[in-house]
C-alpha cells in the first residue's frame, strides 16, 4: 500500500473531526506564539537598553573623569595642546526636565561640535554652523525631529529647561536627524547643545562632566595618567559600560526566565495535543494494519500528518506571537521608561532569529511529540478491537521509571546550580531542568494523591466524585501532561509571589531601619547640596524634635562601577543588617573612626569584595586611588549602584566634603509630623531648594518604585498565563471529548444533563486541585532558587524568604479556578450531547 492514499485518507479523517484538528493546530500555534511573544519582548527591551547605552557612551575607548563627577575644562585644553591627543572630546551630560516636552526627564548633552566628529553620529540640521552660532549668544539647542513634531515645536520655538527648580529659557536652533528609526527614537532622549551653553544652564562655570578619548596605544594612556592631577583619572570605557549593562542585564535575566517558561509551556502544549491526537487513532490504525498497511506506511502517514499541522500551526503561531509580543513590548517599555529615563526606545524589535526559533520550537516539538506515538501506532497489532486502555497500560508501567528519571534530573539541576561559576545560562538551564524533572514526577504523584483523596473519604461524597477521580488515573497518560503544565504555571505564580512578597517585606524592613526618621530634610539643589549649618542648629532646637541624624551624601566616581554614593553620618541612627563583618558588631564604629568603610552588598559585588579578613577596596579620591579596609558588608536596597559609608573625617580628608546634605528628625512619640514640617518650612527662605518630606511619604514613594518594577513581571506573568491557560483549555477540551461515549451511556441510563455537567466540572476541579497541591513544593523550591540564586546573582541583593500561607491558598484556588474555567465550555457542550451519536462513537 502506498503512502499517498493513506495520507489522503487521514486528512479526510481530520476534516471529519474538525474540532479536534483545530485544537491540534491551535495548540501548536499557541505554544509557538508564547515563545515568539516573550522573545520579542526580551530582545526589544534588551535592544533599547543597548541603544540608549550606545547613545551616551559613544565610540570612545577611554574617558577622563573626576572623583566629584566634574572636571575642569582646562584639562581638555591641556590634553589637546600639551599631549597632542586630538581624538578627544569634552562632554557634559546631565539629566534635566523640559516643560515643553511633556515634563519628561531628558539628557542634556553638551558637546564641542569640532571635537564631536570622531565620537557620535549626531546629524544636525540645518548644518553645524548653527551650533557654532550658539556661541554668539543665541541660546539654541537641538532636539530630535520626531520629538519636535510630536509636541508641535519648530525651529525658533522657546523651551524651558529645568535643573531642580532652576529654569533656563532657550530656543530650538535645529533638529537631530537620524539614519534609521531606531536611533531616531533614541535621540528623543537627548537635548544637545554647545558646551558653553550647557555650562550656563547647569551653572558648571568652566567645568565639564568628562572627556571622551579614542586611544589606540597603551603608551598614550600611560602618558595621560602621568599628566592627570589629583582627583582625576582615566578609565576604559568598557568598564563604564558594564555598570550600565548591569541594569539591562537584570532585566534580561527576568525576561529570560519568562521566555524559558513560555518555551517550556509551548513544548508541553504541543506534546500534549500531538500525542493525544495520535493515540486517539489507535483503533483506526489497527484497522488499517488489518487491511494491509505496513508499519512503515502507518509511521510515515502519522508523521506526515503531524508535520503538515505543525507547519500550519507554527506559521500561524509566529503571526500570533508577533501580535502578542507587540502588546507586551508596549507594556514593558512603558514601565521601564518610567523608571529609567535614559530608555526612550519603544520600538518592537523582531529578529529573524526570533521567528526561526519559534518555527523551530513548533516543528521540532511536534516532531518529537509525534515520533513516539507514531512508533507505537506503527506497532499496533492488526486487530480492530484494540482499546485505548492498552496504550494506557503501557504508560502505567512507565510511571515508576519516569519518577526515578525525574529525581535524577532534579538532582542534576541542583548540582548545576551549585557550580561555582555564576553564569546565568547555567541557572536557566537548571530552572528548565527543575520544571522538566518535576513534570516527570507527576504521574506517580497524581496516582498517590488520587488514592489518598479516595481513601480519605472523597469517594463517599458520591459516585460523581469517585468517577471524576478515577477518570484522572484512568487516562493518566493525558491527564498527567495537563496537570504537570498546570502545576508548573501555578508554581511560577507561587515563586514570583513569594519572591516579590519577601522582597517587599525586606524593603519595608530596610526602609524602617534606614529611613526611620519622622521627617526628612534634604537639599534639592543639584549644584550646592549643603544645608546651612545655622538651619541645622535651629532644627535641632525645635521643641518636639527628640533626636536628629545628620549626614551627607556625595556621588563619587568609581572605576569598577561608575557612579557610587558615599555616606558619612554625624550620628548614625540607622539599623544595619550585616551579611558579613570583620569584627564583633560593637567594634565596628571604632573601625569606621579609624578610616575603615562599610559597603553595601551591591557595592561589594560590583567591586569584587570577598568577605574575609583583610578585604579592601580602592576608591578614587582627591588624592588619587586609596585602598580602604572593609569593616562590614550590609544588606541594602539603595537604588543607584551601591553605596559605602565612611566616617565624616574620612569624607573630609579624601573628598573634601564636611557639609551636611540631609537630616532625619526623630520626633517625640505621638507628635504629628505635619505641624513640625510646617514650622521648618517657615524657617526657610523662599528661594531655598530644600525638600521636607515625612518619613511616611518617602516610604510610600520607595514602595511605589518597587511595585512599579514588578509591573513588568506581572505583565509577563499575565502573558505566560494566557499561553498556559489556552494550553489547559485545549487539553481539557481534548480530554473531555474522549468522554463523549461515557456521557452517552450515562445519559441513556437516565443521568440528567445537569449531572453530566457536574461530573465534568468535578473532574476539572480535581485537575486544578491536584495540580495546585503539587505546585506548592515546586513553587517553594522555585522561590528559593529565585531569591537565593538568580536574584542574588543578577541584582546582588539578598533577603530572607518569607513563606506566606495565603499565597499557597491563592495558588490552589487559582489553579482550581483555571481548570474549572477551562471545563465550562466542554461541560456546556456535554449537556447538549446527542445520545445516539455518542453511543456510536468508537
Amino acid at each position: 500500500m502506498g503512502n499517498r492514499p493513506l495520507i489522503r485518507f487521514c486528512l479526510r479523517h481530520s476534516r471529519r473531526h474538525l474540532v479536534r484538528t483545530l485544537l491540534l493546530v491551535f495548540g501548536i500555534a499557541m505554544g509557538v506564539a508564547g515563545v515568539v511573544a516573550i522573545d520579542i519582548a526580551k530582545t526589544s527591551v534588551g535592544k533599547s537598553f543597548e541603544l540608549s547605552t550606545r547613545a551616551l557612551v559613544s565610540r570612545s575607548t577611554h574617558q577622563i573623569a573626576g572623583t566629584g563627577l566634574e572636571i575642569p575644562q582646562q584639562v581638555f585644553t591641556d590634553i589637546r595642546t600639551d599631549l597632542g591627543i586630538h581624538r578627544s572630546a569634552p562632554v557634559i551630560s546631565r539629566h534635566v526636565k523640559v516643560s515643553e516636552l511633556g515634563d519628561r526627564i531628558l539628557t542634556l548633552l553638551g558637546v564641542d561640535p569640532f571635537s564631536e566628529t570622531h565620537f557620535r553620529n549626531l546629524h544636525l540640521s540645518p548644518g553645524e554652523q548653527d551650533l557654532s552660532g550658539v556661541m554668539t549668544g543665541s541660546k539654541g539647542v537641538f532636539i530630535s525631529r520626531s520629538h519636535a513634531r510630536q509636541y508641535n515645536l519648530d525651529i525658533g520655538s522657546p523651551l524651558h529647561i529645568f535643573l531642580g527648580s532652576r529654569k533656563t529659557a532657550v530656543t530650538i536652533a535645529g533638529f537631530l536627524d537620524s539614519e534609521n528609526s531606531a536611533t531616531g527614537r533614541m535621540l528623543e532622549g537627548l537635548v544637545v547643545t554647545d558646551i558653553s551653553l550647557a555650562q550656563e544652564i547647569l551653572e558648571m562655570e568652566d567645568h565639564i562632566t568628562r572627556i571622551d578619548l579614542i586611544l589606540d596605544q597603551d603608551a598614550a594612556a600611560e602618558k595621560i595618567r602621568e599628566h592627570l592631577g589629583e582627583g582625576l583619572f582615566l578609565v576604559e570605557t568598557d568598564q563604564q559600560n558594564t555598570a550600565v549593562r548591569g541594569l539591562s542585564y537584570s532585566f534580561e535575566t527576568s525576561l529570560t526566565a519568562f521566555s524559558m517558561l513560555a518555551l517550556f509551556m509551548g513544548i508541553f502544549l504541543i506534546y500534549n495535543t500531538v500525542s493525544f491526537s495520535v493515540t486517539r487513532r489507535h483503533r483506526l490504525h489497527g484497522i488499517l494494519r488489518a487491511i494491509g498497511a505496513t508499519r512503515a506506511n502507518i509511521f510515515f502517514t502519522v508523521m506526515a500528518e503531524v508535520m503538515v499541522y505543525a507547519v500550519i500551526g507554527s506559521v500561524f503561531g509566529v503571526l500570533l506571537g508577533i501580535l502578542l509580543g507587540k502588546g507586551a513590548v508596549q507594556a514593558v517599555v512603558a514601565t521601564v521608561s518610567e523608571m529609567y529615563f535614559t530608555l526612550t526606545v519603544s520600538q518592537t524589535h523582531i529578529s529573524g532569529f526570533t521567528i526561526a526559533k519559534g518555527l523551530l520550537a513548533g516543528i521540532l516539538a511536534a516532531f518529537v511529540s509525534g515520533f513516539f506515538p507514531a512508533l507505537s501506532a506503527a506497532g499496533t497489532r492488526p486487530v480492530s478491537l484494540m482499546h485505548r486502555t492498552v496504550s494506557e497500560k503501557g504508560f502505567n508501567r512507565l510511571v515508576p521509571g519516569l519518577f526515578i528519571c525525574g529525581l535524577f534530573i532534579l538532582a542534576a539541576a541542583a548540582l548545576l546550580m551549585r557550580t561555582a561559576t555564576p553564569h546565568a545560562g547555567y541557572d536557566f538551564t537548571a530552572l528548565f531542568m527543575i520544571f522538566f524533572g518535576s513534570a516527570l514526577l507527576t504521574p506517580l504523584l497524581i496516582r498517590v494523591i488520587v488514592r489518598v483523596l479516595l481513601s480519605a473519604g472523597m469517594g463517599s461524597l458520591g459516585m460523581m466524585v469517585k468517577m471524576a477521580l478515577r477518570n484522572i488515573t484512568r487516562s493518566l497518560r493525558q491527564t498527567s501532561v495537563l496537570m504537570a503544565s498546570l502545576m508548573v504555571v501555578t508554581s511560577v505564580f507561587i515563586g514570583i509571589e513569594v519572591m516579590t512578597g519577601s522582597f517587599r517585606l525586606s524593603i519595608i524592613q530596610w526602609v524602617d531601619d534606614h529611613i526611620g526618621g519622622d521627617i526628612h530634610v534634604s537639599s534639592t539643589d543639584p549644584l550646592t547640596q549643603s544645608l546651612d549649618t545655622d538651619l541645622v542648629e535651629k532644627i535641632r532646637q525645635l521643641p518636639r524634635v527628640e533626636s536628629l541624624s545628620a549626614y551627607n551624601i556625595h556621588p563619587v566616581f568609581s572605576r569598577a562601577s561608575g557612579k557610587v554614593h558615599l555616606f558619612s553620618y554625624r550620628s548614625d541612627q540607622s539599623v544595619k543588617r550585616w551579611s558579613w563583618t570583620a569584627a564583633p558588631k560593637e567594634e565596628l564604629d571604632a573601625l569606621l573612626e579609624n578610616g575603615w568603610i562599610f559597603v553595601s552588598e551591591i557595592f561589594a559585588q560590583r567591586h569584587h569584595v570577598i568577605p574575609r579578613q583583610g578585604a579592601a577596596v580602592t576608591l578614587e579620591t582627591q588624592k588619587g586611588p586609596v585602598p580602604f579596609q572593609v569593616a562590614g558588608i550590609f544588606q541594602d536596597f539603595f537604588m543607584g549602584g551601591g553605596r559605602a559609608v565612611v566616617s565624616p573625617e574620612t569624607m573630609a580628608r579624601f573628598w573634601g566634603h564636611d557639609d551636611i546634605t540631609s537630616l532625619q528628625l526623630f520626633l517625640a512619640s505621638d507628635t504629628p509630623a505635619e505641624p513640625v514640617m510646617e514650622t521648618i518650612r517657615q524657617m526657610l527662605d523662599p528661594e531655598d531648594m530644600i525638600e521636607i518630606r515625612s518619613g511616611n511619604a518617602i516610604k510610600q514613594s520607595i514602595l511605589a518604585v518597587f511595585d512599579n518594577t514588578f509591573i513588568i513581571t506581572s505583565a509577563l506573568q499575565a502573558l505566560t498565563a494566557i499561553v498556559a491557560l489556552t494550553g489547559i483549555l485545549n487539553a481539557v477540551m481534548a480530554l473531555l471529548l474522549e468522554r463523549t461515549r461515557e456521557i452517552g451511556i450515562l445519559r441513556a441510563c437516565g443521568t440528567l444533563t445537569g449531572q453530566v455537567k457536574q461530573l465534568l466540572l468535578h473532574e476539572c476541579f480535581f485537575y486544578g486541585l491536584i495540580s495546585g497541591i503539587m505546585a506548592i513544593p515546586l513553587g517553594t523550591a522555585l522561590s528559593w532558587v529565585l531569591i537565593h540564586i538568580i536574584n542574588q546573582r543578577s541584582f546582588g541583593w539578598t533577603y530572607e524568604m518569607v513563606l506566606i500561607p495565603g499565597v499557597f491558598f491563592q495558588a490552589i484556588a487559582l489553579s482550581s479556578a483555571a481548570a474549572l474555567a477551562a471545563g465550562i465550555f466542554p461541560a456546556l457542550a456535554a449537556g447538549r450531547t446527542h445520545i445516539p451519536t455518542a453511543l456510536h462513537m468508537e
Binding site: T389, G462, M463, K466, M467, R470, N471, R474, E742, I745, L746, R747, A748, C749, G750, T751, L752, T753, Q755, I835, P836, L839
Partner: protein
C-alpha cells in the same frame, strides 16, 4: 405498559441528503410481553429503540409508553422517566469503565437518591442470580464479554423498570454464551412480568418471543408467530 407507536416519521441528515428511516410507522407493543424486532442491518432497529426510550425524538407522530407520552416530554422529564421506568441493554455492554461491577449497577439508583440499602439489596439479589456477586468489586475490563453483558442486564433490571429494551444483546458474544444471555433476559422478564422489546438476529430469540415485528422500508409490521401463541 403498552407501547403505542403512532404514525411516526424519522429521518437523518446524511451528508446533505435526507435518509428516511420511518414513514408513518405505527404499532402496538403489548404490555408484559416479549416483543422481538428483526430486520436488515441499517434499517432502523436501534433508532426505533432510541425513540421508544426517549433518547431520540420522532420528527412527526408520537410514542406513548403506558400512560406517558414520551415524545412530548421535555428532556429532564424524559430522562427521569427513563431512569425510573426503562432498562437498556446494548450490544457493546456499555458499562462505565471506572466503576466497579457493583457501582455500575447501583449508579443510577444513587443518582436518583434511592436509599442505598434498598438498591444494594436488590443489586445483591440480582448479581447473585447472575453469579457475579463475588466479582462485585472488579472493574468491567477484567470481565469476559458474557460476564459484562450479565452485569449490564443486572444494571437494566435493578431499579425494577416496567420496560426493558435490548439492542442485539447477544450480537457480540459467541453462540453458547449468547444463548445463555438470551435465556437470562427472557426468564427474568417473564418472571417479573416486564415488557421486553428486543432487537436481535438470533434465531433462538424467536423461541422466546410473544410477538415478532419486522422493520422494513420505513414501517413496522407484526409477523405471525405460531411457535409461541
Amino acid at each position: 405498559m403498552d407501547i403505542q407507536i403512532s404514525n411516526i416519521d424519522k429521518s437523518f441528515d446524511d451528508s446533505g441528503s435526507r435518509r428516511v428511516i420511518f414513514r408513518r410507522a405505527s404499532a402496538l407493543l403489548p404490555s408484559g410481553k416479549i416483543s422481538v424486532i428483526m430486520g436488515r442491518s441499517g434499517v432502523g432497529k436501534s433508532s426505533l429503540l432510541n425513540l421508544i426510550s426517549g433518547i431520540d425524538l420522532p420528527d412527526k407522530g408520537f410514542i406513548q409508553v403506558g400512560d406517558h407520552c414520551i415524545s412530548f416530554m421535555n428532556d429532564t422529564a424524559r430522562t427521569i422517566f427513563r431512569r425510573r421506568h426503562i432498562g437498556f441493554i446494548y450490544q457493546f455492554f456499555n458499562l462505565i469503565p471506572v466503576l466497579t461491577v457493583l457501582e455500575n449497577v447501583t449508579l443510577i439508583a444513587e443518582l436518583d437518591k434511592v436509599p442505598q440499602k434498598t438498591c444494594r439489596r436488590q443489586a445483591q439479589t440480582l448479581l447473585e442470580q447472575a453469579g457475579l456477586w463475588d466479582r462485585r468489586h472488579d472493574f468491567p475490563e477484567t470481565l469476559s464479554g458474557g460476564e459484562q453483558q450479565r452485569v449490564a442486564i443486572v444494571r437494566a433490571l435493578v431499579n425494577e423498570p416496567d420496560l426493558v429494551l435490548a439492542d442485539e444483546p447477544t450480537g457480540n458474544l459467541d453462540q453458547e454464551t449468547g444463548a445463555k444471555i438470551m435465556e437470562m433476559i427472557a426468564t427474568l422478564a417473564r418472571k417479573k412480568n416486564k415488557t421486553l422489546i428486543m432487537v436481535t438476529h438470533s434465531p433462538d430469540a424467536a423461541a422466546w418471543a410473544d410477538q415478532i415485528f419486522s422493520v422494513d422500508s420505513g414501517i413496522l409490521t407484526p409477523m405471525d408467530s405460531d411457535t409461541n401463541g
